[in-house]
Symmetry: none
Subunit: 260 residues, 2 copies
């Protein structure tokens, strides 16, 4: 059984990372990934709050970007409030945990994603996740912190693993890894830059997010990603009439331009 | 509906009392009782960690002894590890929450009891409770603190009060009609016939089904279908350099050929 990893995106408080490690340990989760952490996750404060889960902190994997952190994963769950401008299904922990445990039993590589203490997750990151996990809270007082969210999600996960294993409705095909999916996205976006679809520049981030979001929602298999890449290649190069085209990375250039 | 009160017996850390108040607020619990607190529950630390639940702290009722604190209550649940020498039923939060919510709906006066951070509850106090609530944890790492226990018990209580209310998995955007979807499929397949992707003829039905299947699974919105049509148009006609192309229906012709 492959338990989901926990991914903290840009965490800013070392005591929260420590508390997260403690709760992970309580609920049998063992792999921690940190994306661009803003603090030392191995300082005294983090270690004290981990209450003995030091090795989990020491073995944390660190990545510079979210896409790098998820490249080898097949399913991703974003724990966050519902974003206003993303068309993505939102589920309570109790609703989604059955499928998560089932996939863990099938050794599917999964990640539970938590955002930064202040801003939560950014929409670009949420767009790469399959499902939004939203914890039902008192509507008049719905402030909940990172460690608290993890306690609840971890608790539900562990309780569900303890239940009788549900009958499996496993998918027929191998789910695509996030690296494969990212490869398809870059391929598509690159072609759409070339074709003039992605413009004007200030609208590119939203257009890209919309496409990434809808394809992510489809939970594509490795074979389907391959098919889609074939579709894109064929549409831009009908009947292979052009010889091998040079590599392009115009999207990156435009993004850099936007950042400046 | 009378929600259970929360009773902290001899709490020793003000930040824990603050965190408890915050979690109570998150899960709709409003009455806090303190038995012989060892700290100031209204200091800055407690207030800061209550994250806005100050009034709950200010309205806390204080008692000298546990029997005084529970005198008006009808059912008591002790959240603690199982004591060795007491014959008392032990239940997981998920097992006991149904009856607790039912009693709350009947306005039964109930109390959720939590012990001191260091020693938990004493057997004399547990003996006065009806049921022991024990949170299932990783047997190799079962250290859990007061606030964490309360988050889990409070969470289960609130979720159980919400049951029967519909889940929130609806999508934000207007789902595409099947007509819109079919229009996109025909558009895409037509272009893929033109580009030479759909071949050889005997494989076309499977290739078409693969693509239709993956896009259907994404549960596209009307706007997303429009975006995808824009993508296809742009890829086959970069920058709109071709004038309006003639209508094509090659796929139909191939299908007719296959049927014969």
């Amino acid at each position: 059984m492959q338990h989901p990893c926990v991914i903290l995106v840009k965490p800013t408080l070392s005591q929260n990372i420590g508390s997260v490690a403690r709760a992970m340990n309580n609920f049998g989760l063992t792999e921690l990934r940190l994306v661009a952490p803003k603090v030392d996750w191995l300082n005294d404060e983090a270690r004290a709050l981990s209450a003995g889960a030091d090795s989990l902190l020491e073995n944390a994997k660190v990545f510079e970007t979210f896409p790098e952190a998820i490249a080898d994963l097949q399913y991703l769950y974003a724990t966050t409030a519902r974003p206003r401008d993303l068309n993505k299904s939102v589920m309570a922990p109790k609703e989604i945990m059955g499928p998560i445990v089932e996939r863990a039993q099938n050794n599917t590589a999964q990640g539970l994603v938590f955002g930064n203490e202040k801003w939560g997750l950014e929409n670009e990151d949420i767009a790469l996740c399959d499902v939004i996990i939203s914890i039902p809270l008192n509507p008049h007082f719905s402030s909940i912190n990172l460690a608290q969210s993890l306690i609840i999600v971890g608790y539900e996960y562990f309780q569900t693993t303890l239940m009788g294993t549900p009958s499996s409705t496993q998918t027929l095909e191998e789910p695509a890894s996030r690296g494969d999916l990212e490869g398809f996205f870059l391929h598509l976006e690159d072609e759409l830059m070339m074709s003039g679809y992605l413009r004007p520049p200030h609208k590119i981030p939203v257009m890209v997010r919309t496409l990434r979001n809808l394809f992510t929602r489809a939970e594509l298999s490795t074979q389907e990603v391959r098919s889609l890449r074939g579709v894109v290649s064929s549409l831009v190069n009908p009947n292979g009439i052009y010889s091998r085209r040079p590599k392009r990375d115009r999207l990156k250039k435009i993004e850099e331009k936007n950042d400046n």
